[in-house]
Symmetry: C2
Subunit: 116 residues, 2 copies
């Protein structure tokens, strides 16, 4: 599989809540960096993406650019907290799996919803 | 100039606060979409990027991927609100200028700082 195919399969899996399939494309010792900081390992990855997927009500991939070393994805999400929010991922791929995953998104709508 | 060169020049300009130079690479009727919604036109772009640049204390470009239609950039910022935060841009380039610019970043640290 090409880097683009790996990343596409991972993205389609997690954004539909199919975390077990997403995990097929993720290294056991994956490094995850999100707005709240760094997490280590596939279990932490599964929890991070699972939590986000559970709140998704819609997603639209705007751009995916890949090369041999990885990919950047940019997309629009709809969640329980916001009808439209932009988000992005920067993924490093080595030996057919994602070894590092970085996420940029806005936590403010989630914080505002939690505050009521 | 290639799309990559245009985007690189724009990015280096705005992230160092040189908005006039950044504007050379931006269409007069640019569409800007950020976490707070859509803005239209180069003046709105200048204000948006100027405000962000004024708060930057450091920036590290992690990835820039481009093709003929545009580019995605993924980077780490340091600001008055957060020592380390991930952010991304998705830029559409036509006829040598940026016609659409979308930004994904976390507003929460800024909101928390404003609340004191």
């Amino acid at each position: 599989m090409s880097t683009k195919d790996i990343v596409t399969a991972y993205f389609e899996a997690w954004t539909t809540g199919d975390i077990p399939t997403a995990l097929k494309y993720v290294a056991p010792d994956v490094v995850v960096v999100g707005p709240a900081g760094r997490l280590d390992g596939a279990d932490a990855f599964a929890q991070f993406c699972g939590n986000f997927a559970a709140r998704l009500t819609g997603i639209r991939l705007l751009r995916l650019l890949a090369d041999d070393e990885g990919a950047v994805l940019f997309y629009e999400t709809a969640t329980d907290a916001s009808a439209s929010a932009l988000a992005a991922e920067y993924l490093t791929v080595k030996d057919g799996v994602i070894t590092e995953a970085r996420y940029a998104f806005d936590r403010l709508p989630f914080a505002q919803l939690a505050q009521g």
